[in-house]
C-alpha cells in the first residue's frame, strides 16, 4: 500500500475513533452529560489520540529504519566475495540493486547475482510494506479499542487530552534547540574532518585559496591550497561597499520618515521601501550580473579604468540596495524609541530640527543604530545569491573594488553544487567555511542584540 493511502486511512480511522469515543461516553451515562467527568468531546479526542499517535510513532520508526534493515538483509544474502568489498563499493552495488529493482539504469553490467539481489530486494520491500500496513492499522484499531473500552464516568478525559496537547507544545518548542544543535553538529563534524586533512593554522592564516584537487597524485598542483584569508578579505570588501550604500541612505530615510515626513507620506513611502526587502535575492543577483555590472564596466571604460565584469563594486552596490530597508526599519524603531521629551528639550533651546537630530537624537539612538548596522553587516556577510551571480570565483587578495573578488558564501556554493565526495577536503572545506561563517554571524547577532536590548532598557 502506498504511504499516502496509509496516512489517509489512518486519518479516517482517527475520525471514526473520535465518534466512537464520544458515543461511548454518552452511552455510559445514557445521555446525561452532567454525570460525566469531562465533556463528551474530550472522550472522543482521547480515543482519537490513542488511535493515531502510537500508530504514527510506529510508522515513523519503521520508515526511518526500513532502508537500512533491508540493505543489511540484502548484503547478508550476497556471495562472500561481494560482502568483503569496501563500504563505498558496497553502497554503490546496493544502489545498483535498488536502481534495477525500480526499473532504472545501473552503472555496470547486469549479471545473475545483481538480478537475484534485485528480486530479493523487491520481495523484501513488498513484505516490509505489507507488514507496515498491517502493523500500523492494527495498532491504530487496537489502541482505539482499548481506549474506548477504558471510558468510564470517572475517567478524567479532559486532563489527559490537555496533558498530551501540552506535551506536543513542549516538544514543538524544543525544535529550535534541535535545529541549532543540528547546525552546529553538522558543520562541526565535517569541519573537524577537514582540519584533520588541512591544518587549522593553514586554513586561517594562509593567503592562497585554490580548492581544485588533482585527480592523480603526480599532477601539477596536486594538493589544493586552503587559505581562507582571500575569501574573508573579499567578503569584507563587498560588505564594506554594501554598507557604504546602505547605512547613509537607510539612516537618512529613517530620519526623514520619522522626523520630517507627514503621516500620509510615511504610510506610502514605508511599505514601498519594504518592497526592496521583499524582492528575492536571486532577482538582485540577476539585476547585478546583467545590468549593474555591465553598466559599471562600461562607465569605467569610459573613464579609462579597467573594470572587471564581475567587479566587487557591482555586487556590493546591489547588496547595499537590498540592505537599505533593513537598516532603515531597524533605525526607525530605535529613533522612535527616543523619548519625545528629549526632542522638546532641544526645540525649547531654539535648536532647528536638523540640529536636534544631529546633536540629540542620533547620540541618544546611537547604540541602537550601531546594533542595527551590525545586524545588517551579518546579513551582508551571509548573503549568497547576489555574490554567487555577480561576484567572481577567483580568490584575489585585493582592496580594489573594481577587481574580481570571491566570498565565503560563493565558495561554499561552488564547492557543494554538483558532485560531493565526503572524503575529499574540497567538499569538507565548505563545511569549515560554513562553521566560520556561522560563528561570525552568531557573534555579530549576539553583540547587536545585546547592544539593542541594553539601550532599550534606558528609556523604558
Amino acid at each position: 500500500m502506498q504511504t499516502s493511502t496509509l496516512i489517509l486511512l489512518l486519518l479516517t480511522l482517527t475520525a471514526i475513533a473520535y465518534q466512537f469515543g464520544k458515543r461511548r461516553s454518552l452511552a455510559i451515562v445514557s445521555g446525561k452529560v452532567k454525570k460525566l467527568h469531562s465533556l463528551p468531546g474530550y472522550y472522543g479526542y482521547l480515543t482519537a489520540i490513542w488511535c493515531s499517535v502510537p500508530a504514527l510513532i510506529i510508522f515513523g520508526l519503521w520508515s526511518a529504519f526500513e532502508s537500512t534493515i533491508i540493505a543489511h538483509l540484502i548484503v547478508s544474502n550476497l556471495p562472500e566475495t561481494l560482502q568483503s568489498l569496501s563500504s563505498s563499493r558496497l553502497s554503490l552495488f546496493i544502489n545498483d540493486i535498488k536502481n534495477l529493482a525500480n526499473g532504472g539504469i545501473t552503472s555496470g553490467e547486469v549479471d545473475a547475482t545483481i538480478q537475484s539481489a534485485a528480486n530479493h530486494y523487491n520481495n523484501l520491500r513488498q513484505i516490509s510494506n505489507a507488514a507496515l500496513t498491517v502493523l500500523v492499522l492494527g495498532t491504530a484499531i487496537g489502541c482505539a479499542a482499548f481506549a474506548v473500552k477504558n471510558i468510564s464516568k470517572e475517567k478524567r478525559a479532559r486532563n489527559e487530552v490537555e496533558f498530551s496537547v501540552k506535551i506536543f507544545l513542549i516538544i514543538s518548542s524544543t525544535i529550535a534547540i534541535f535545529t541549532t544543535l543540528g547546525i552546529v553538529l553538522s558543520v562541526l563534524f565535517e569541519a573537524i574532518r577537514f582540519f584533520k586533512i588541512v591544518p587549522i593554522t593553514e586554513f586561517l592564516f594562509s593567503t592562497e585559496w585554490s580548492p581544485q584537487m588533482a585527480i592523480r597524485a603526480d599532477q601539477v598542483g596536486s594538493s589544493g591550497a586552503f587559505g581562507s584569508i582571500p575569501l574573508f578579505a573579499g567578503t569584507l570588501l563587498i560588505t564594506v561597499i554594501a554598507m557604504c550604500i546602505a547605512v547613509p541612505i537607510g539612516l537618512m530615510s529613517a530620519l526623514y520618515l520619522t522626523e520630517y515626513a507627514s503621516p500620509k507620506f510615511r504610510t506610502v513611502a514605508k511599505p514601498l521601501l519594504e518592497i526592496l526587502a521583499g524582492v528575492p535575492t536571486v532577482v538582485y543577483g540577476f539585476f547585478a550580473a546583467l545590468t549593474v555590472a555591465p553598466m559599471i564596466r562600461d562607465y569605467g571604460a569610459f573613464l579609462g579604468l579597467d573594470v572587471s565584469s564581475e567587479s566587487a563594486l557591482a555586487a556590493g552596490v546591489v547588496m547595499g540596495i537590498m540592505i537599505i530597508p533593513f537598516v532603515s526599519s531597524l533605525s526607525d524603531d530605535v529613533i522612535n524609541a527616543v523619548p519625545q521629551s528629549l526632542r522638546d528639550g532641544a526645540y525649547g533651546m531654539g535648536a532647528t530640527k536638523s540640529e536636534t537630530i544631529r546633536k540629540v537624537i542620533i547620540p541618544a539612538a546611537l547604540p541602537g543604530i550601531v546594533g542595527g548596522v551590525l545586524l545588517a553587516v551579518s546579513r551582508a556577510i551571509g548573503e549568497t545569491m547576489i555574490v554567487v551571480m555577480a561576484a567572481g570565483l577567483a580568490a584575489n587578495l585585493t582592496a580594489n573594488p573594481l577587481e574580481t573578488v570571491t566570498t565565503v558564501t560563493v565558495q561554499i556554493v561552488t564547492l557543494l553544487v554538483g558532485d560531493q565526495e565526503f572524503d575529499s577536503p574540497k567538499t569538507l572545506a565548505a563545511f569549515a567555511l560554513g562553521l566560520i561563517l556561522f560563528m561570525i554571524t552568531l557573534t555579530l547577532n549576539f553583540i547587536a542584540l545585546h547592544i539593542v536590548r541594553k539601550y532599550r532598557e534606558q528609556y523604558d
Binding site: 506536543f168 507544545l169 558543520v187 541612505i249 530615510s253 520618515l257 521601501l273 537630530i357 560554513g434
Partner: protein
Amino acid sequence: MSQSAPNAPNNSTASRVQAGLKKRYAQERRFRFYGVLAITLSLLFLSFLFFNISSKGYTAFQQTFIQIDVHFDENKIDPDGTRDSETLSSANYGGLIKSSLRSIFPDVKKRKDKKKLYKLLSPGATFQLREMVMNNPDLIGTTARIWVPADDDYDMLMKGHIDRTLPENERRLKDQDIAWFDHLIESNAVEKRFNLTFFTAGDSREPELAGIWGALVGSLLTLFITLIICFPLGVATAVYLEEFAPQNRWTDLIEVNINNLAAVPSIIFGLLGLAIFINVFHLPRSAPILGGLVLALMTLPTIIIASRTALKSVPPSIRQASLGIGASKMQTVMFHVLPLAMPGMLTGTIIGMAQALGETAPLLMIGMVAFIVDIPAGVTDPATVLPVQIFLWADSPERAFVEKTSAAIMVLLAFLIAMNSLAIFLRKRFEKRW
C-alpha cells in the same frame, strides 16, 4: 540673555544667534534635502529594478511562430500502413519538416546551407508533428498548414534583440539566415503569438521550449511541505512560550535559540540539510520534501516571532474572563486566546511563506539545481523551484534565456506581491485594537 537682547542689538546673544541663523537654516534645508534624496534614491532603485526586469521580460510572453505546409507522407511515417503507435511515435517527423522547408526555399542546394535552413524551426516542431499524428492518424497522407515555433535565434530577431546593423561576423544570424526569415515574413508566414509553452512546459535546453510550469509546481509542493511543518510547530512553540512556559533557564535557552536562528544565513540551513537530512536520514535528493523541510526550519523563527506578537496583543482580560467562569488554562488558550490571535499568526505565516518562496541559497546545497524536464508529480520526485529556475536560466548563455529569466522573475514577483497583499489585507481586515 533675554534681558539684554532687545536693548543691545550689536553685541548680544540674539545678534549672534541672528548672525548664524542664515547658515543654520541653510544647514537645515540641506539636511532635509539629504533625507528626501535618500528616499528618492531608494525608490528610484526600486523603480529602476522593476522597470529593468519588466522591459527585458515582457517580450517572453509572446513567441514567434512560422507557418509551414507539411505533407504527412505515408511512405515516410507508416510505410506498412499498420498505424500502430510504436511505428507512429518513432517515425522520422524531422524529415517531414525538412522537406517542407526545402519546398519553401527550393534554391537552397548546398548541404551546409540546408543544415542552416533547418535551424529556422525549433526542434519542438518535430514533437508537435508527432503529437498531431498520434492524436489523429487520419492526417497521414494529407497536407496540413500548421504553425510551429521558430528557433530562439529567429525569435530574438523578430523581437528586435538581434541588431541587424552589426557586422555579419558579430551576429549570431548571418545575412543569409536573415534573408530567409525576411522572405517568410513577406509571405506572411511569421506571426507572434501568446507564449503558452512558457506557462505549461518544464525546463528545456531550447529556450523556445522552456517553461516555468515545472518549477512552479515544484515551488508549490515545496511550500506545501514547508507550511504543514512549520505552521503547527511555529504556533505550538509560540503558544507554549507565551502562555505556559515557566520563566527559567530552559525557556531562556529556547528564546535565545529562536532569536539566533532568525539571523543565521540561509545558506547554513542548506549545509544542515546536506549533512543531516541527506547524509544521515537519506531523504531523496532534489525532492520537494527535503527542500520543504529545510525551508521550514528556516521559516520557523519568523512564524514563532509573529505568532508570539499576535498572542501578546490579546489582552489579559480575555484570559481572566475565561478562567473566571471556570475554563481550564488549556481551554482558555484553545477556545479564546488562539482564535483572537489567529489573524496575526496567519499574517506572519504568509510573510514567512513569501520568504520561503523567494529563497534560493539553501536549495542549491541540497541538489535542487538539477536540470529537470519533467513536471514533478509528488513530493518525492526530483524538482526544482522558481527562484532556482531563475538562477539556472540566468546562467545560460543563450540570449533568449535573458528574457525567459526576466519573465520568470515577473511571475515570481507577482506571486510575492499577491501573498504580501493578502497578508496586508488580512491584517487590515481582522486587526483589532483593544
